[in-house]
């Protein structure tokens, strides 16, 4: 069995492996969507289609010992950082084999072996936590850094403001990454936020900031790399705004009919898979045939996995009572 760490390590310096992981994410989300439609997944699920380049760019710029606090929309993050499709799908389906033993669900990915802190389903909720992890690294004189990943909509919540200010005043080793995918639920960002370039909010904290093309893994690595280097070398925090697009609806059955005409089509030309394919083909690392082959293999493999996961064991009743408190420590 491949571990999360092995899957993560396989990505470094291997653009083909990164592309394959992007294909994995894309096909995984198709299956997630289908399983949801078929009633095999409870609750809600937020697809990360469009997040692939950002996720892989982060995964290969950060070390496995760095940590990241993400959101309810973290399937791409989880898979890119190393979690196996089995443990991610297991969690989404509430199985004992899931990364949280099936008690968390689609919104709660976690695997500390590759630095994925429990993702929060509260907007902005993970940001102070990421700042706190960075504080720990600073106090411990560790070279690890912390990342807070959040959406465009999250830049309007108080926790965003407080976290950035705190990180700036304490010069914490952290990178704030805003995945600006243009929408927060059913609202286009311009209806809730009076500025277009969200990264300029860093000025309020005298914090370096930049926008990057979140659809191109090279651009992601370059931008985030700069921020990571700054953080790791004691230069403090950076706010990075990755310009991306949410190709799916917000969650579940959302058809995203509120999108202005032509917008999706425009962004589809920047689909991270497409962008990467063009790059790899140009670099002669892959052919169109191999791409097609890879996709259909992946589809088949994940389809088979989904079948397998469906018959995975459910958590025991006792799981409901576990991992809540440790017993109180005995005193004198």
């Amino acid at each position: 069995m491949t571990t999360s760490l092995e899957r993560r390590n396989a990505l470094y310096g291997n653009d083909l492996a990164c592309y394959e992981r992007m294909v994995e994410i894309r096909e995984f989300e198709k299956i997630t969507n289908a399983l949801f439609a078929a009633g095999s997944i409870r609750g809600t699920t937020h697809l990360a289609v469009g997040q692939e380049a950002l996720a892989l760019g982060m995964a290969t710029t950060l070390k496995p010992t760095d940590v990241i606090a993400g959101t309810y929309r973290s399937h791409a993050l989880a898979l890119a950082f190393g979690l196996t499709p089995h443990s991610v799908l297991g969690e989404i389906m509430g199985k004992a084999t899931g990364c949280c033993g099936g008690v968390g669900g689609s919104m709660h990915m976690c695997d500390t072996s590759v630095g994925v802190l429990p993702t929060s389903a509260i907007i902005g909720g993970g940001m102070p936590i990421a700042a706190g992890a960075a504080l720990a690294f600073q106090v411990q004189k560790s070279k690890n850094i912390s990342v807070a990943l959040f959406g465009d909509g999250a830049t309007n919540i108080g926790a965003f403001h407080e976290s950035l200010n705190l990180a700036a005043i304490w010069k914490l080793p952290i990178v704030f990454i805003c995945d600006n995918n243009v929408y927060g639920e059913y609202s286009r960002i311009n209806t809730t936020t009076p500025i277009e370039d969200l990264h300029i909010r860093a000025e309020s904290y005298a914090m370096p900031h930049m926008a990057i093309d979140g659809m191109d893994i090279h651009a992601v690595r370059k931008g985030i790399g700069e921020a990571v280097d700054r953080a790791r070398s004691g230069g403090g925090p950076t706010l990075v705004e990755a310009k991306t697009y949410r190709f799916s609806g917000h969650s579940r059955a959302d058809q995203a009919l509120y999108r202005p005409e032509g917008e999706l089509e425009k962004w589809q030309k920047r689909d991270p898979l497409l962008v990467t394919e063009q790059d790899l083909i140009a670099r002669k690392l892959i052919t169109q045939d191999q791409i097609d082959q890879m996709k259909s293999t992946m589809e088949a493999d994940l389809g088979a996995l989904a079948k397998k996961v469906e018959s995975d064991p459910e958590p025991e009743l006792s799981a409901m009572f576990s991992n809540i408190w440790t017993p109180a420590k005995a005193g004198k």
């Binding site: 509430g94 919104m107 709660h108 907007i123 909720g125 909509g153 459910e314 958590p315 409901m320």
Partner: protein, 336 residues
């Protein structure tokens, strides 16, 4: 009487109040253009327009506080909090500002605002989106907290909340949104008044929200004659009705979707015990959820909130023995 789903009853109540009083305005995340993540504002923007019906940024502190301020200036804002947990970033505005403005203005200002929030487990939303959290508002003089149990009470309580001159929180069991029921749109509930879902002689069951439906099924399953009190208002709760019922039956069970420790049911049990000690035939007790986060897995979540089977078991116990029964997780040896 009209047949409606609970969420349609909510839309109807809001629309009727907005028609009756132009001071009523409505805002929240994705409630206008998208008509609400749970479709609890279908047609509201269309009928009342973008001045009175607004989408907000993701800023619960900001917009909940804005409702407090707008209410102080004479509007009657209704805000939607998509999941009750989101008030965790904004509780200050509800408990420490909104509820205290009448007091801190020496009675010259009131805060006729309504907060609607979806609550509860059962739909696979996981531990950060499935609690009921009534206790966040407990012990807050100045607030009123309501919870409907069906389409009729969803309609009647929301209208009462909007008409009320104080801040009112309506906790809506999310699991009921799609349920249907008959609604008489001439009925506006009196806040603070419980409603009798069933009447009987052997035992009093007090419940709130969806647990009223669970208790109703349990009473049928147990085949007993019981008063089923649907509290409807949890703060301030209807002492009179509950005390009168227990005086009659001599027995009390509270069924609640809140963890065993610190839920609102203890308030009912403690008050009844203090007032009616010598009339009690057996130990009054609570049937609650265990002290655990709400699990995502379907099988586990099905056991989280009280089930009608388990409530029936405990009702039978109460009628045959004077001591309280064990919760299922103790009875089944799963946990302590």
């Amino acid at each position: 009487m009209t047949a409606m789903r609970v969420r349609q009853a909510i839309v109807a109540a809001l629309a009727d109040e907005m028609r009756a009083d132009e001071n009523v305005i409505f805002f929240g995340e994705d409630v206008a253009e998208a008509e609400g993540p749970f479709k609890t504002s279908e047609g509201i923007l269309e009928e009342f327009g973008p001045v009175r019906v607004r989408d907000t940024p993701i800023s619960e502190m900001g917009f909940t506080g804005a409702a407090v301020g707008a209410a102080m200036m004479g509007l009657k804002p209704v805000v939607e909090i998509m999941f009750i947990e989101f008030l965790g970033v904004a509780l200050d505005q509800v408990v420490t500002e909104g509820a205290k403005m009448r007091y801190l203005s020496n009675g010259t200002l009131s805060v006729p605002m309504t907060i609607r929030a979806s609550v509860g487990s059962g739909l696979g939303f996981g531990c950060q989106h499935s609690q009921t959290l009534e206790h966040w508002f407990a012990s807050t003089p100045g607030l009123k907290v309501l919870m409907p149990s069906d389409a009729q009470s969803a309609y009647s309580l929301l209208r009462a909340a909007i008409q009320d001159p104080d801040p009112v929180i309506v906790l809506e069991p999310r699991i009921l949104y799609a349920e249907r029921g008959e609604v008489d749109t001439s009925k506006v509930t009196k806040i603070g008044k419980a409603s009798m879902r069933a009447t009987g002689s052997d035992i009093t069951i007090v419940a709130l929200g969806h647990m009223v439906n669970i208790a109703e099924a349990a009473i049928k399953a147990a085949g007993v004659s019981a008063d089923l009190v649907d509290l409807q208002t949890i703060i301030p709760w209807d002492r009179e009705t509950v005390l009168a019922s227990v005086k009659k039956t001599g027995r009390l069970i509270v069924v609640e979707e809140a963890p065993q420790s610190g839920g609102w049911g203890s308030e009912i049990v403690a008050t009844v015990t203090a007032q009616l000690f010598s009339s009690l035939k057996s130990a009054p007790f609570r049937i609650t959820t265990p002290d655990v986060p709400v699990p995502f897995n379907g099988g586990l979540e099905a056991r989280f909130a009280p089930t009608s089977d388990d409530v029936a078991r405990q009702i039978k116990h109460a009628l045959s023995q004077s001591g309280a029964p064990q919760p299922w997780w103790v009875a089944e040896g799963v946990a302590k």
